[in-house]
Symmetry: D2
């Protein structure tokens, strides 16, 4: 780091997600955008590593692991949003850099799942309603299935598919004389940006070479 400011490189900078992350980094007072790597920009990751404290990788399953190993070996921390590859090699210490990986960087969605799980231990019963645009082919959504698996008890899932919806999930818990409802609404595809920036600020401080899951940053004391 240079004077408390974190120098951030973005791998996959030319993609739609990468562009949103570049914009988020540039808008943050404590971060500077130190480099953009992307085949479409004719800029390989290796050429920007020397300028970065942290690299954010939103590339592809077949490149993410090599990118991450290059980072940690060179002493650059890496925050990974790419999914679909086995991150096990990063769990062994390969170099001075740390790796952080999350399948879901939407802070509100991670909070919703966490609160739903906690509440299910104290309320009698629960049901989930997930609502998505009608172009979504699968039902129920992966988030709804994972939420139900983590909660206590048997939790029915209802899937609503309508034009005009974006991506929404509501967990309703009931007990004598009361209900508790926890709802997450995604209204824009940039919803992952605050979670990525949170990880960028924390990755240097983690004790382990690899940490997986935004909940590890949001609830560091939880089991």
């Amino acid at each position: 780091m240079t004077g408390g400011v974190i120098r951030v490189g973005v791998a996959g900078a030319a993609g739609r997600v990468g562009q949103a992350i570049c914009a988020g980094v540039e808008a943050a007072g404590d971060l500077v955008l130190a480099g953009r790597a992307d085949p479409a920009l004719d800029t390989p990751l290796a050429s920007i590593l020397g300028d970065c404290d942290v690299v954010v990788d939103f590339t592809r399953p077949d490149t993410a692991l090599d990118n991450a190993l290059a980072c940690v070996t060179a002493g650059v921390h890496v925050v990974i949003g790419t999914t679909g590859f086995d991150p096990a090699p990063l769990a062994e210490r390969r170099g001075p850099g740390n790796a952080f990986l999350a399948p879901n960087f939407a802070i509100g969605a991670v909070l919703m799942m966490r609160f739903a799980v906690e509440a299910s231990r104290h309320m009698a019963r629960a049901e989930i309603i997930e609502l998505h645009h009608d172009a979504k082919l699968d039902a129920p959504s992966g988030t709804a299935r994972r939420t139900a698996e983590l909660m206590e008890g048997d939790v029915p899932i209802h899937s609503v598919r309508l034009p005009g919806l974006v991506a929404h999930q509501e967990v309703i818990l009931g007990d004598v004389g009361q209900t508790l409802t926890i709802r997450h609404d995604s209204t824009d595809r940039t919803s992952f940006v605050p979670g990525v920036l949170l990880a960028v600020r924390h990755v240097a401080r983690q004790d382990e070479p690899l940490v997986v899951g935004l909940e590890r940053l949001l609830f560091p004391d939880a089991a």
Copy 2:
């Protein structure tokens, strides 16, 4: 009527519903409670008819028709909340009194159904979520089934059953870039009282001997 005040008798006055109606009549400035008929009170309907402009009947399927015929023949209007009998004999003029009957006196529920039907003509697709306490045995609810039948298009229904819920229905309509949601929440069993009082105030003015359905009062110009 006496000086613009309507004299109201209640048949089934000792029941839970009848008591709520009596309380509602007594709280209304333009109505007076003129009599309470009920076997439990040793007071037959015939003994109060002479004091009433309108009788409200929440009794039983096997008594409601005889009660109503006695009223209209005697020139007393009758508002009927009892269901489970055939009201066809009331459709012929039997006497100077009018009869009004509704299966559902909750104004908000009738408005919800009406708006859902209207909106379904103008929005691309819709789904219904009905939510009830977990002691409710049937699913989907009768109101949800009737709403879906009246709406345009194929409308899926989701049934949520949880302790702590009372009786709720949500109709979500979607189209490009927007959703419209119409929701009714019943929070207390007295929700039928305003609809009954509305009918008491209108029954003398109706042109036909029998009118069925609160929507006829709420939307008099509709087809």
Copy 3:
């Protein structure tokens, strides 16, 4: 018209709104995109008029009236989404074409306002909650103010401003033992497209030279 298909021209076709309308027309089986007029495309409106049954105008306050008069005089109907000019000259018959104008083409928002007004005649009291992204400077929103003005009774408005919100309004009506909630959620700026296409299909049939307001198409029998 040619064989039942409506030929549609778009004035302001190069703007963000105009592009969304062009895409909507092209996706509709009963409409064909007959011309795109825009200074940015070096295509004046006059050059496409001969190919059009209906023109949609989303331009600017200083050009909309001249555009509309040119259309109706030439026997081309015009649907106008431009606001901020006085449409009074269009109310006199100027030629064989009709003009339709609306300040709000979001069908769901117009339905919400209409239902809120109707329900306010039958429920005891109401409050409005309008929720918008935190970049919206004014509060309460124009839609909330207009809704409250049209409703019966005194209707308080609450304004919520948060990042992550788009544009939402909820009207809650309460009476004994029940509430009725009518909510509109705008989730995308294309929410006006279905309303514009509805007007395109109706404008040839209207009896008057100028009709104002989408509610005139949605509720033709209302006062």
Copy 4:
């Protein structure tokens, strides 16, 4: 305890709240109702103490402390729902019994406040909407004020008062592209019963002579 079953006495057993607790105890398989104390029943607390493992006190501010001291001195644990007195004397060990006190026994409301506070550390901004029946005189509600005080940042509160509402609170948190909503609905005055029974089952195990607040049972590991 006798064979794993907890013997429960209720002080204030003739009141509306006391009756609901008696019914809740009788419906629970692991609890037995060992005594009902109330002036209206001519049964003083002293006369039932010998039969009880735990006493639940919903009496009055001027009797609750003496009742609790009598319990703990006699080795009977006490769960106190009475508010408006200073419980400080119970914080010193007076006898073998423990005391547990909470101002709010509605588990869902305590979870809502807790989750709102946690989420406010991770989301950019928040607002609270509390909705109550129109007979509620104060605004904002005490729960809303306490929630806002405990949350990070400046949290505006909106108060909705309508007939047909019961007691509801919604906390909306927003950040880039998303919102998280946490809502509690009280639908019946028996909503405190599960929280009281939870405390009855835990009070024997607590390390300190006095524990205050249901959150201490729901989140034992929290600071």
